[in-house]
Symmetry: C2
Subunit: 348 residues, 2 copies
DNA sequence: TCTCATTTGTTAAACGTTTTCTTAGCGAGT
DNA sequence: ACTCGCTAAGAAAACGTTTAACAAATGAGA
C-alpha cells in the first residue's frame, strides 16, 4: 500500500509531534510517558504501519530475540516433533527461530554455527551430529552464546543437555516383555558406540537381569540406524533355528525395517512374534495390531529445553557466574501398550 | 575460550594496524586492498575469531540475508519435505531461514508476518492458511518484502506462486485407473471450496470423461482433510451394496484413514480394491502391496520457489518495476505405479 | 518568593558496520 | 620543476534504535 521504504521511528515522532525518545519509551513501555502522548504516539505508529527495525534495535540493545535451532536430521520424525514444539514455545516467548539442518554432516553443522554466531542469536538449541563434536560446538559452552544440547549428549562438553532417560526406556521395554513371559528376546539396535543405543541396551539388559533373566547375546543385532540395516538384522533373527519370541527395535527406522521383514516372512504379530518399538510413529494407526512402544516425552523435552535455554540467556544477561554447570537433564519415557505384544503362547 | 564479548571490526583493525575501512573492504572483497594488507587483516581476523555482526551489517546495508518460511502445517509430511529442501537451497545460497508455523491459524500467520517484517527479512515464503488471507499477506505483494506462495494459491492476490499442477495430477490418477479397467471408482477428498481439492477432482473427472467414462457422483466423498474424515468416508464407500472397485484418496491424511478402514474390513488390496493416493508417504514401504501414488514434485517446487524469490529480491534491489506480475507457476506431478492398483478381475 | 524534589520530555551519544569522499603518495608526461 | 592522473588507504557520515544525561515544568514547603 504505502509507497517508499518503511517508516522509521523518526517519522512516527514527527507525526505525533514528539521526540523519538518518547516514541521509543511508549512502544517499549519503558520510562514514564503521559497518557495523552502515549495515545498520540500509538495512533501515529498505527497510521504509518510502523514496524521497528529489528537490526537497529538489536545493534543497540545487544539482544536479537532470535534462537538458533540446529538439527542433525530433518527427516527423523521424532526430531520433527521436537522442532515443531520448540518453534511453538519459542514463538510464544517472543523469540524467532532460525532453522538449520546439518543432515548429519559435521561440516554443515560447523558452517551453521558460524552463521548463528554472526547473527548473534541469543541462544542455540542443537541436536548434534553423530560423528564427533566440532570445535565450534565446544565454544558454545563459553562465551559467544548460551547453547543447549537436545536428545544427544556429548560426553566431554560442559553444556546443558536435555535427553530421554534411555536407561529407563530400555528397562521399561524389558519389564513389559518379561511380564508377558518372554525369555528369548531379540534386540535390533544401532552402533553401540553411540551413547543412546548403548543406554537403551544397557537398560534393557538390566531390566531383565533384575528379574533374573540373562539376554542371549547372539540375539543382539548391532548395526547402523537405517531401515535397511533393521530389515537385514530382522531377517537374520527370524531365520535362526529357534527364533526369538519377541523383538525390541530401538529406533524408528529400525522398526520400519523390522516390520517389513516380518511382513515378508508372513509372520503374524503378536501371535508368532511380539514387537516393541521406540517412539510414537506417524503411521502407528496403520499397522494392524497397534504398535506397543516406549515413547520419548517430546513435549516435555521441548519445554525443558526452551525454558532452560531462556533461563541461561537471562542469567547471562545479568552477568551471573557459571555455578551449576554440566546440567544434564533426563526425562522419563513412557510405555504405551497396544496390540503388537502379547503373552507368550507355547514354549517350543 | 576468549573472555569478554566478541571482537569488533575495530579490534581487528587495530591488531592489523589498519583502518576499519580496510578491514571491511578486505573481508567483503570489495574495493582495492594491497596483498600485504589483506594478509595482515585476514590473520588478525582469524586470530581474534572475528565474526561480523549481522545486525550492524544489515542496518547499514539494508539487506539481512534472511528468508522467512511460514508454513501452514508442520505436521504435514509433504510440507516437511518442502521445508527441508527450501532450507537446504536457501542455506546454499547464503540465506538463513526463520521458520514459522501458523498451524492453520490465521492469527498466528498474521503475527508471524509482522515479526518477519520487523526482522526485515529479505523475502518470505508462505504456505498460507486455508481460511482466507490476512491483510498482511496481501501487503506482501507490494512493498515491505517480496513474497511467494507455495502449494496453495490465493485467487485474488497478485503474488508469485508455485504449486503442483493439480489438474494433471487428477488426470494421471484417472488415466491409470482407466487403463486398468476400473469404471466404478470412488474419490475421497477434502472440501471442494479449496482450490487444490477442486482441481484434483476436476482433473480426475476430466481424465475419465476424455475416455468416455462418467463418474458416479454418489461415490465422491467430500469432507474435510483429516484422517478421521477419510476413515469415515471410506467406510461409507465400502458399505455400499455395489462398492467401488478402486478409490482415489486425494491427500495424505485421507489415505491413512482409507487404509485403516480397508484393514478393518479385511479387504485385500489390490485383489478386492485398488487404491491410489497422493504423495510419497514416509511409511509407504510398510504397506504390504506398495502404494501406487501420484507424487508432487517437491524438490522442483522448492527449487523454483527459492530461485524465483531470490530473483525477485535482486530485482527489487535494483529497483526494477513490476512488469510480469501474477506469475503462477505450476509443476507437473508424476505417477508411481506400485502394487496397490491392479487390473480389475471380475465384473460383479 | 525562593528553593528543592519530582515528574515528563528532549538531546545526543552510542551500537558495529558499509561506503562515499578525501587525501596522501607517486610515477609519468611536458 | 610542475602538473596530471592514478591507486591505496583512511576519515567520517550514515543506518534506526535505546538510553543515559540533562532540561523544563510543576507543585510543595519554608
Amino acid at each position: 500500500m504505502s509507497a517508499g521504504p518503511l517508516p522509521t521511528i523518526h517519522e512516527v515522532a514527527r507525526l505525533a509531534g514528539v521526540s523519538v525518545a518518547t516514541v521509543s519509551k511508549t512502544l517499549n513501555r519503558s520510562g514514564k510517558v503521559s497518557e495523552v502522548l502515549q495515545e498520540r504516539v500509538n495512533a501515529a505508529a498505527q497510521k504509518l504501519g510502523y514496524a521497528p527495525h529489528a537490526s537497529a534495535r538489536s545493534l543497540r540493545s545487544g539482544a536479537t530475540r532470535i534462537l538458533g535451532l540446529l538439527v542433525a536430521d530433518l527427516t527423523n520424525p521424532y526430531f520433527l516433533r521436537l522442532v515443531e514444539n520448540i518453534e511453538r514455545l519459542s514463538s510464544a516467548a517472543g523469540y524467532s527461530v532460525i532453522l538449520c539442518n546439518s543432515a548429519e554432516d559435521p561440516e554443515r553443522e560447523e558452517r551453521h554455527l558460524a552463521m548463528l554466531l554472526s547473527q548473534r542469536a541469543d541462544g542455540a538449541i542443537v541436536i548434534p551430529t553423530r560423528r564427533g563434536w566440532s570445535g565450534r560446538l565446544a565454544a558454545l559452552s563459553s562465551l559467544p552464546m548460551p547453547g543447549i544440547l537436545v536428545d544427544r549428549r556429548i560426553e566431554g562438553l560442559d553444556l546443558d543437555s536435555v535427553t530421554t532417560d534411555n536407561l529407563t526406556l530400555g528397562r521399561l521395554a524389558a519389564e513389559h516383555l518379561d511380564d508377558l513371559g518372554h525369555r528369548r528376546v531379540g534386540v535390533i539396535m544401532g552402533s553401540p558406540e553411540h551413547q543412546i543405543a548403548r543406554h537403551r541396551l544397557d537398560g534393557f539388559r538390566t531390566g531383565f537381569a533384575e528379574r533374573g533373566v540373562t539376554l542371549d547375546e547372539r540375539l543382539i543385532e548391532k548395526n547402523n540406524f537405517s531401515e535397511m540395516a533393521g530389515h537385514a538384522a530382522a531377517l537374520r533373527l527370524l531365520s535362526r533355528s529357534t527364533r526369538p519370541t519377541a523383538i525390541f527395535a530401538t529406533n524408528n527406522h529400525l522398526a520400519l525395517g523390522l516390520l517389513r521383514a516380518v511382513g515378508e516372512r508372513g509372520l503374524s504379530i503378536p501371535d508368532e512374534l511380539s514387537v516393541i518399538a521406540v517412539d510414537e510413529l506417524p503411521w502407528a494407526g496403520l499397522v494392524r495390531p497397534g504398535m506397543t512402544v516406549v515413547t520419548q516425552p517430546s513435549e516435555a523435552i521441548a519445554e525443558t529445553t526452551v525454558s532452560t535455554l531462556l533461563r541461561r540467556i537471562s542469567e547471562g544477561r545479568s552477568g551471573m557466574d557459571e555455578d551449576d554447570n554440566e546440567r544434564s537433564i533426563q526425562l522419563p519415557p513412557a510405555l504405551v501398550v497396544r496390540g503388537s505384544t502379547a503373552a507368550i503362547r507355547k514354549q517350543p
